[in-house]
Symmetry: C2
Subunit: 387 residues, 2 copies
């Protein structure tokens, strides 16, 4: 079955006009008029595709197509149409519009599926407004807590208040939980360079890495950069540097794991003063919880091994531990067959970033298709994907 690439492309470009900024970026934060307009346009496309459109208590936009077995649980194809501030044209929107295009092509070609299909534009995946994302997919998966709605945006407006202002009833949010989902599929831009470097337009996602976020504090001893011989030093930055080198080595020793030190601060911070205190973050991910645990243990051991002989003391705090979500082998296999049919060599790759799909880990089998990103750039006006 072929889809109409040009129709999909035109819809992507037209949706990209909603929230477009002079800079070339797109800003569509949740529960704003831009997001409303984007949902309205998406609903039109759903109707054009022959889908029956509704919105649930979380504001998720759902287009449903049934064939002969309307009582079966649906296959859900989802992604989001909200963006970060100054985001791009593809992150999220591509997955929703591709889902609509797929169903529309099925309908137009007179094909039928056993299970109903629901194409969903989830509310607020990015978390750009309230610092708390995947609101819609959490609600549909039944994992959204009432207290999560208390998160506030930079102007002090809570999710609850924003929902009310958008005509939604927060008290009914539990009703957004889907009674049953047969399988969940999401197409998304890769936001990395694996497909591009392999010259492939798409690939099969093996799992979604869950981030483990840690904070490390090292304490040494300040001293005069001239008067303290190297052998007497307790240089917290020199220790931190050795740890960062080891963190990189540990991540590199696994095929999928990634580790990043993105924040680092030191004291006292004088050019001629040995640093006494360094604090840095670690973001460690893998799609396999066991591997992430093993890498974490190696990092903890490396910190001890480096700090003890240097007389450096340390504290390590883990403050976010999102479980990795493996993709269903069955869904992967189906996507791989589709790749072969489309003449695309099947390439399996992990998702390092989080996606709405994660929320369905305990609901149903999940799968994801990645589409090539130019230079891996996303969350940026320069974001680009093409076949």
């Amino acid at each position: 079955m072929a889809v109409q690439g040009s129709r999909l492309w035109q819809r992507i470009m037209r949706l990209a006009q909603i929230g477009a900024q002079e800079s070339g970026g797109i800003s569509r934060l949740s529960f704003t008029s831009e997001e409303r307009k984007a949902k309205d346009l998406t609903a039109e496309y759903m109707k054009e595709a022959g889908l029956e459109v509704r919105e649930d208590a979380a504001g998720n936009l759902i287009g449903r197509k049934e064939w002969n077995n309307s009582q079966l649980s649906p296959i859900v194809i989802g992604s989001h149409i909200d963006t970060v501030v100054q985001g791009g044209k593809f992150d999220g929107a591509l997955g929703v519009l591709a889902g609509i295009e797929a169903v529309q092509s099925i309908v137009e070609q007179g094909l039928t599926l056993k299970h109903p299909v629901e194409v969903v534009a989830f509310t607020d995946e990015e978390g750009a407004r309230f610092g708390f994302g995947m609101i819609g997919s959490r609600a549909m998966a039944g994992t959204l807590n009432e207290e999560d709605l208390s998160c506030r945006d930079s102007e002090g407006v809570s999710i609850r208040e924003a929902m009310l202002a958008a005509g939604l009833e927060p008290a009914l949010i539990a009703g957004a939980k889907a009674p049953g989902i047969h399988a969940y599929l999401e197409l998304h831009i890769e936001q990395g360079q694996v497909l591009e470097s392999a010259s492939l337009p798409a690939g099969i996602v093996t799992g979604i890495a869950g981030p483990l976020w840690m904070k490390v504090k090292l304490k040494g001893q300040a001293g005069h950069a001239g008067a303290a011989p190297m052998r007497f030093r307790k240089d917290a930055l020199a220790a931190a540097a050795a740890v960062i080198v080891r963190i990189e080595d540990i991540a590199r020793s696994y095929p999928v794991a990634v580790a990043t030190v993105g924040k680092l601060q030191l004291l006292p911070g004088g050019i001629n003063i040995i640093p006494s205190d360094v604090e840095f973050s670690i973001d460690l991910r893998d799609i396999d919880a066991n591997i992430r645990d093993e890498a974490e243990a190696k990092i903890r051991a490396a910190i001890a091994e480096i700090c003890v002989p240097r007389g450096i003391t340390w504290e390590l705090e883990d403050f976010q531990r999102v479980p990795p979500v493996p993709c269903s082998k069955q869904v992967q296999s189906i996507v791989a067959k589709a790749c072969v049919l489309a003449g695309i060599e099947p390439l399996y790759l992990p998702s390092g970033a989080g996606h709405d799909a994660m929320q369905f880990r305990e609901v149903c089998p999940i799968g994801m298709i990645f589409v090539r990103s130019e230079l891996g750039i996303s969350h940026n006006p320069k974001e680009w994907s093409s076949f």
Copy 2:
């Protein structure tokens, strides 16, 4: 010849009362009433020691003792009695008062020296007030420039204005240059832990390390901490960490060299964003200019070696390059003999910090004696030295 340790100790403790703060620290900034009082008390001690006291155009307090050959150029024993804000009792003051005690003991024991001796309390060694130190010793060595007097303190007062307010004539500063000095000797606290760890009260300084200050900027590429596989990254912090590890290794490979990365900043600084930009400082010192040059070359090579394969670009700027000053072998040998006579095993060690002695590098042979510092602490109320 023995000195009277108890008299010296009492003078140290009495001088420490001038500028004493409630915190236990001492603040005697240059050209303030506290510094004036400290000079007046020091002048009293000089007179008690049989020295003829004068002040030069830079405000240096000079006590002179002549014996039979008054026309010979003097041996100068100097240090300073200004302090940093919240400084200690020994940094500077010990050297001046020890010089007075030495001459007083010579006089009291009826001994004579061939060369006249001048004990000097130099004006503003620390640079704590104007960010420009060693004013008095530069003036005596003839290396102070008229324009240096334009440096201003935090309240906008220039050195020139402060001198005028203190009754000094900036226009006459060139007159502070000594016509000739036979040799220069300075006793100072070590500000490190070499003597303490060797259980020795004093040691012989081999040279004064000159700091080379560099600024390194690394530029990589920001990216998503989840979506960018390790092999595609251009992580500026991972590169910086590898460089910092190498800098430490290079310094450790020499007996005396020290290298410190005391400042480090990175961008963008998000926990889940690969750092694109890192800027850090390097403070590199040795008492031998050739070794410092060699270490610098190794550091530059290490930066290139680490950054090139990572796709990281860099800029390296050196913005201060103070020449190291070796101590005279002859003076070292004389001090070593004095150590043996005093029952102290001669221990040779470098000075990582700068001292007034540096200013006389092109004037005469210089030498320094270091006195043990408890825990190496200085520029701090906890600074402590004892025999």
